[in-house]
């Protein structure tokens, strides 16, 4: 599976998650994909070098924030072995921006409904990080 196909799958998984633990797990995996793919696609010859590198850093922070939510499932994360990115910086940035935006939306919405304060804090922080990654990668002004 290519990285871009993986991004589509991650977005679908995110959309399908209904319970909070499933959503947190899906968001964590999606942010892991944003972090690693943005870092690997960052090429100094591309104009998106700075945006991709800083988006990777923002996604990492969001991932850690989500990982601290009390409702995060305790099992091992199933991170698939990833092939090379195989995509240009521009295409990757667009795809990752969409995925980060979806994560930010779902987490912000879940934060509003979370019962545990720990979950609320973690979801809010993770949503902010994902939103920042999206803002860095979006080509057009919001």
């Amino acid at each position: 599976m290519s990285r871009l196909q993986e991004a589509d799958a991650a977005a679908a998984r995110l959309a399908a998650a209904t319970a909070l633990p499933d959503l947190l797990d899906a968001a964590w995996q999606a942010l892991d994909l944003v972090r690693t793919t943005a870092g690997e696609c960052a090429d100094p010859r591309s104009g998106l070098y700075a945006a991709l590198l800083f988006a990777a850093a923002a996604a990492a922070e969001a991932q850690h924030a989500a990982g601290l939510a009390p409702s995060m499932p305790a099992g091992d994360a199933a991170i698939p072995a990833r092939a090379g990115t195989g995509a240009g910086a521009g295409a990757a940035a667009g795809q990752l921006a969409g995925l980060a935006a979806a994560v930010a939306r779902r987490l912000a919405s879940a934060a509003a409904q979370a019962e545990l304060p720990g979950d609320r804090d973690a979801l809010t922080a993770a949503a902010a990080g994902a939103g920042q990654a999206c803002q860095l990668l979006a080509e057009g002004r919001p």
């Binding site: 964590w28 870092g39 960052a42 100094p44 104009g47 998106l48 070098y49 700075a50 945006a51 590198l53 800083f54 990777a56 850093a57 990492a60 922070e61 991932q63 850690h64 924030a65 990982g67 601290l68 995060m72 305790a74 099992g75 091992d76 994360a77 991170i79 940035a93 921006a97 922080a125 803002q135 860095l136 990668l137 979006a138 080509e139 057009g140 002004r141």
Partner: protein, 686 residues
């Protein structure tokens, strides 16, 4: 606005001194002029003191500085005597005992005194005064200030000022011929000033001051925390370059002590370190691109093309290392969530301005929406002046990144030692659980094991090495291009040389420095105590002189083939001849011999001749010229200190001026004037 440098103040002071020459009558009358001259001599002593290694026993008597340290110690004494004579003249002429007070504006002599005092104060902005007179560096420039080139340049400058001031004192003496006491003191002051200048001549001949020494001295900036100036869209190239330079300076300042804070500070987080690594990659990339562009225009702009290409390549390598480092953070984190820290704020300003300088968007930010192609090099640097300014800005940024890489490496190592680095349990293949109050609580994160942080630390070491290589390549390019940052390049080269003289690399324990407090007071400190000196600074300096003497004697003993060549003293020898073997008797005899030796030493002290350390070396049969010179220097430092202490004691007893001036010949050897120098007359205040 660029920082004020020592050179700026110096040239102003030189101009004011020039304006004052021959016009002492325009200085508010002879009494006021004498007062201002005294202020200047005081400022000159403080210049010598600022660069003198008085706070560092290991530096005192360093082999490469023998000539200039000796000159500085002797000049300091001569200037103190000149100051005392000027003070006495001022009093004889009806001036206040406490000095001239605040001079009215417009007097060139007073202005020169103020400017020279300010120049000296500029040097001290790089030093922190610790308890009991200890001194530590506040900035990287601190080690430059006490380096060989700066000691040479400052001492030489002070000598030239003394030469310039002596005729002013003579003129004043001529003007007050009707007041014989004052005239005599002013004439003596002129002679001491000439003598001070003459003390530098042997050093000037043996170890001449170079243009690079002076350039380095002039480049020393004021260490002041400039206020943060946020980047604004549409800043000019000049403003961007100045902003980058200022941010780089502040960034270096805020990274100091990062390792000490890393174990506990909530600002020290994995997020901040990762962010900084990312900024390092982007800044290095932008800098590399700009230099490559400038290198393409090297011919028309008169720039060193090869140096610029080499620097661009080194920056590209640094960019790759920083990027690798950002990736190496992976899922490692700290227990504290990401907080914006001061280094991040400064690095952010630096990065945004670098982006606006390099890219064709005056509102550049790292966001994809603000990306723009690189600027046309001809537009970036339309003339050689702008090209040099851009090169200097990139140079400052690279030096700051070098410092950040080294500081973050230390900080991350400290965080690891403090068990502040964690990894998520989700990715390490097992769940660790702890039992608390019969409940089982799964942990989300566990402390990272050494194997999990090895790659990260290796990446930091690589980034630090690559950043250092890039900064050094830029040192070479800036020096070759004559960029405004060439002074910094010189300073960095000096620092590297000084560091190579250290007994061991930082962090690795080298030979223990002599402990000035061990074993009770040494001879110089003892003399100060006998003089009832209680000034902590003077006592500490005395202890350091004693420690330096002790170290020198240890060096000499290890160099001497047979340190006991002298054999037993006369009393012990007689006992041995008599066949006495009783250890107690022999020991008592040795003590009697030692007491006799000490008595002889004191008698020699009074009579003049070599100082105590030099004499001890001679007694040991040491013939090494270098060791003997070092001994003479340590003796001179002790003598200078004693003179200062004696003056302070006498001034305090007389309720005289706060600025010490010699009142009596101190015990020990009188500094021998060079053959070419005129022999000073018997100064009334000596």
């Amino acid at each position: 606005m660029t920082a004020v440098t020592f050179g700026d103040l110096l040239f102003t002071g030189i101009g004011q001194l020039g304006a004052a020459a021959g016009l002492p009558q325009d200085s508010g009358g002879p009494a006021a002029a004498a007062g201002q001259l005294r202020r200047i001599t005081s400022a000159l002593v403080r210049h010598l003191d600022a660069v003198g290694p008085w706070h560092d026993a290991l530096a005192l008597g360093r082999a490469d500085l023998i000539w200039w340290q000796r000159a500085g110690a002797d000049m300091s004494q001569a200037l103190l005597r000149a100051g005392r004579a000027l003070g006495a003249a001022g009093q004889a002429l009806g001036g206040g005992a406490d000095g001239p007070g605040e001079p009215p504006p417009g007097w060139p002599l007073a202005a020169a005194a103020t400017t020279l005092a300010a120049a000296r104060d500029l040097l001290s902005t790089h030093l922190d005064a610790g308890p009991a007179g200890s001194v530590s560096g506040r900035t990287e420039w601190a080690a430059v200030i006490t380096s060989a080139p700066v000691i040479r340049a400052v001492t030489d400058l002070v000598a030239s000022w003394c030469q310039q001031l002596a005729p002013l004192a003579d003129d004043l003496a001529g003007q007050v011929a009707g007041a014989p006491g004052a005239a005599r003191e002013l004439a003596a002051a002129g002679q001491w000033l000439r003598q001070a200048a003459a003390f530098a001549r042997p050093a000037q001949a043996a170890d001449p001051v170079t243009a690079a020494d002076r350039t380095l001295l002039f480049a020393i900036p004021l260490a002041g925390a400039s206020r943060r100036d946020r980047p604004r869209p549409g800043e000019s190239t000049a403003a961007l370059c100045q902003g980058i330079t200022a941010s780089a300076g502040r960034l270096q300042a805020v990274t100091r002590g990062a390792a000490q804070r890393a174990a506990w500070s909530p600002e020290a987080t994995a997020g901040a370190w990762r962010w900084t690594a990312t900024a390092g990659a982007v800044a290095s990339h932008l800098s590399s691109a700009m230099l490559a562009g400038l290198a393409g225009l090297a011919g028309p702009l008169g720039l060193p093309g090869e140096d610029l290409y080499a620097a661009a390549d080194a920056l590209a390598a640094a960019q790759a290392s920083w990027q690798q480092l950002a990736a190496a953070w992976g899922l490692i984190t700290t227990e504290t969530r990401f907080l914006v820290s001061r280094p991040m704020t400064e690095a952010s300003d630096l990065l945004v301005r670098l982006g606006r300088l390099a890219c064709d968007n005056p509102a550049w930010t790292p966001q994809a929406a603000d990306q723009a192609p690189l600027r046309d090099p001809a537009g970036l640097a339309p003339d050689s002046g702008t090209a040099a300014a851009v090169l200097a800005a990139v140079h400052h940024a690279a030096c700051a990144l070098e410092r950040v890489a080294a500081a973050d490496l230390d900080a991350v190592q400290a965080a690891r030692r403090a068990r502040r680095l964690y990894v998520p349990v989700r990715v390490i293949g097992k769940i660790l659980q702890v039992r608390t109050d019969l409940r089982t609580i799964p942990r989300a994160y566990v402390v990272a094991q050494p194997g999990q942080t090895e790659e990260l630390l290796a990446a930091y070491q690589a980034a630090a090495a690559a950043s250092s290589a890039a900064a050094q390549a830029l040192d070479a390019a800036a020096a070759a291009a004559g960029a405004p940052s060439r002074g910094m390049a010189l300073a960095r080269a000096t620092l590297r040389r000084e560091e190579s003289l250290d007994p061991g690399p930082p962090g690795v324990p080298g030979p223990a420095p002599p402990n000035p407090w061990a074993g009770g007071p040494g001879p110089v400190e003892h003399k100060l105590i006998r003089l009832r000196v209680t000034d902590e600074v003077l006592l500490r300096r005395a202890a350091l002189v004693d420690a330096a003497a002790e170290k020198l004697l240890a060096d000499a003993l290890s160099a001497a083939a047979d340190p006991w060549a002298g054999g037993p003293g006369p009393v012990e020898g007689k006992l041995i001849q008599l066949g006495v073997t009783d250890q107690l008797l022999l020991r008592r005899a040795a003590l009697v011999d030692a007491a006799g030796e000490s008595l002889l030493a004191e008698a020699l002290d009074t009579a003049g001749g070599p100082g105590p350390v030099e004499r001890k070396l001679t007694q040991l049969g040491v013939a090494d010229e270098l060791l003997l010179r070092r001994a003479a220097l340590v003796d001179a430092a002790g003598e200078s200190l004693l003179a200062m202490a004696l003056c302070a004691v006498l001034d305090a007893a007389a309720g005289g001026p706060a600025v010490p001036g010699p009142a009596a010949r101190p015990a020990g050897r009188r500094p021998g004037p060079p053959a070419a120098a005129p022999r000073p007359g018997p100064g009334p205040s000596v």
